[in-house]
Every structure is written in C-alpha cells, then in structure tokens.
C-alpha cells in the first residue's frame, strides 16, 4: 500500500510542480519586464530617424508610415497597410526600407546588407522599430483591412499560417496551434485566436534578455522559418508581411503597450 501512496504522491507532486513551474515562469517574465533596456534602443532609433544618410543625404523624418509624412503617433499600430505609392501592403520594416531607397536614394542591397543585428551592434531596422513602435503606446491596434490588397494579404497570411512545409513538415500551427502547449519552458500562444494574439502583438517588437538583442517581427518570421527547416524568407517579402498582417489583424482592438520584453 505504501508504494502506491508514494507513487500517487509523486504523481500529484509532478502535477503541482507543473502548475508551480508555469506560475513561477510567469513571475520571472513579469519581473524582467519591469526593468527593460528596450528604452536604450528607442534612444538609438530616434538618432537614426533624424540622421541624414544615403546618396541624397536625407534623414527619414519625411518618411510617410501611413499617417502622413513624418507622422509617428499611432503609425506602427496601423501597419501593415496598403501604400498606393508602392502599390503593395507593407509592414513597418518594409515601409522603412521603401523610405531608405526612395527618400535617401540608398540601394536595396546596401540598405538590407545587415537587417538583423547583434548584441554589440543592433541593425538600423531594430533601433528604428523600437523608436517608432514606442510612439504608438496607448493606441489601439488596427491594421489596414479595407483595401482589396489588404484583404488578400490577410487571407494569404492565414493560409501561410497553416501551410505545412519544410524538411520537418511544420506549419506555424504545429507549435502555435493548441492551447496550453509548450516548447521546453516556452508557452506557445495560439496566434490565430484573438485572445491569444492580443497580448503578444501588443508587446512586439521587444528586447530579448537571453541574447541582449532587440528583435522585430521580421526577425521572428525569419527565425521561425529557420527552425521549420525551410529555405530563408526574403526580408520584407509578401510572405512575411502577409503573416505579420494576419497576426496583427487577429490582435486588432488591443491597446499597444510595447516595445516589450521577451525571455
């Protein structure tokens, strides 16, 4: 009889331990969020926004992120959206690249030589994303959903979410498909459900404590596809923008409170 009780005790100990584990991980996340170096990247982003660059030696201050030339307030949370001048749907990083090539006259090759930075040297897109996203704090997330190309981008994003590809047959839903699932200790939000997508999209882009890097949604798409064992998605391509569009639209209505803080 004793053995059975011991086993039972061990079993419920593991169960209790599992719940404690989840609760403690939540506390860990909450504590690191309180002290985030993300603000340091916002400072760096402001410098870059105002810094004349490229053959035309012009800053990005006249870049139209959708709310009018140079308007930052609320710009991030209204992306992705359709831009007539480029005749396509763009997220923040695609739009920044557009302004770098048009306003500043930089070549696409030069501007995208280093789209993802390192702890020692963040990329321009990372610092700029920190600064611009911060200008949307407190504004409700509402990407473009009315233009036919916006609807098509959203539908493409949804289909991509469930497309099983790569050497390991994964889709986004393989990991982000069922409530309460974890990879290692990392909880996996079911991102096609509004209630799960809202807290996530409201806190991206973010400072990642484990690598001391500031990471953007373009990086997130890139790194997820790397782990799905597919070839590499081109930076700011229609695929990446459509996925970001689907996730942002799923989170619409939430008040933006980033840049955030990730493990």
């Amino acid at each position: 009889m004793r053995l059975a009780t011991l086993a039972a005790l061990a079993a419920c100990a593991t169960l209790a331990q599992a719940q404690d584990t989840a609760r403690e991980i939540q506390r860990y996340r909450q504590m690191i969020a309180e002290g985030s170096p993300a603000e340091l990247f916002e400072l760096e982003g402001e410098t870059l926004w105002k810094k004349p660059q490229g053959p035309k030696n012009v800053s990005l201050e006249r870049c139209d992120l959708g709310e009018g030339a140079g308007v930052l307030k609320g710009a991030y949370v209204h992306l992705p959206r359709y831009f007539k001048d480029a005749d396509r749907v763009m997220d923040l990083e695609a739009r920044l690249l557009h302004c770098m090539t048009t306003l500043q006259g930089r070549s696409r090759a030069e501007a995208t030589r280093r789209v993802f930075g390192s702890a020692d040297r963040p990329s321009e897109f990372e610092s700029l994303s920190a600064y611009i996203a911060a200008q949307s704090r407190g504004v409700k997330i509402q990407p473009g959903m009315s233009h036919p190309k916006e609807k098509a981008s959203y539908e493409l994003g949804r289909a991509l979410y469930f497309q099983r590809v790569g050497a390991w047959d994964f889709s986004c839903a393989s990991c982000h498909g069922e409530e309460g699932k974890r990879i290692r200790m990392q909880e996996l939000p079911v991102l096609y459900k509004p209630e799960s997508a809202r807290p996530v999209i409201a806190t991206w882009p973010a400072y990642r404590v484990s690598t001391s890097q500031f990471i953007t949604l373009q990086w997130r798409m890139n790194d997820c596809y790397r782990q799905m064992r597919t070839p590499e998605p081109t930076f700011a391509s229609e695929t990446t923008v459509a996925l970001i569009h689907f996730l942002t639209a799923t989170a619409r209505g939430e008040t933006y409170r980033g840049p955030g803080n990730k493990r």
């Binding site: 506390r27 309180e34 002290g35 290692r184 404590v209 484990s210």
Partner: protein, 145 residues
Amino acid sequence: MNRLRRALLAALALGLVRPLAALAAWNKDAFGAKTPADALKSLGIAGATPSKEVVIDAPEIAENGAVVPIEVSSNVPGTSALIVLIEKNPFPLAARFDFRDGALPYAKLNVKMGETSDIRVLAEAAGKYYSATKEVKVTIGGCGG
C-alpha cells in the same frame, strides 16, 4: 608628518576611509574569490546571523540564467551595506552596495547565474552582519534549436 600621511594612505588602501568624492576602491580580492567563504574573508566578514529582516525577492525559476531579476533589501535598523553572493557562480561575489545618508538599503538588479544556485544576501548594520538565502532554479528556455 609623514607618519600621519602614511597611516592615512594605508587606511585609504584598506578602503576604511573613503575620499568623499572618489568611489570605493573596487575590492579585487573579494570579487576575485572563487568561493563564498573566501569572498567574505576578503570583505573582513567573519560570520552573519540569519535574519528574516534581510529580504530577497527573486523568481524561483529563471527561464534564462543570463538575466535573473533580484530585489534585495534590509529592515535591520541602521543597515549601511548590502552584499550579494551567488554561491555557485565561478566568482560568487556579485555586488556590494554601500548606502549613505538619504538612501534606503534597497537595490534591484539583473544578475547572471551559471546554474541553479542559492543567492545569499548579507546586510551590514553597526559592524554586525545579518543574512538570508534564496534558491533560484535556472532552466534553458526556448526551443533549444
């Protein structure tokens, strides 16, 4: 005259008398110590009485040892310093805070932990030391890929 000067320099070297403006000399021996005991010896600390008045707020589980947020404080009256040790780190002494008129004995910081370990905090008050410990489990988060 030089006897006084020599005594003052010696005192300065031992960090007993801090020049008002300059910062405390960084205690190379204590921070270079490889065990908690050696670190405390270099700080001239013989022993400490465990006390609930020394408070450590830290997560029980840290998803990543690179950034472990800890909040340390002391309710022992007259606390003038807080010393933070991470027992299993290659160099256990992580930080020492000296508080002077106007500052509460409190500090919040992010520390690195090589592995699951006890965090030990000592509070100094009127030349006596009080201590508390808390274990933080360090796991590897993420996809490990």
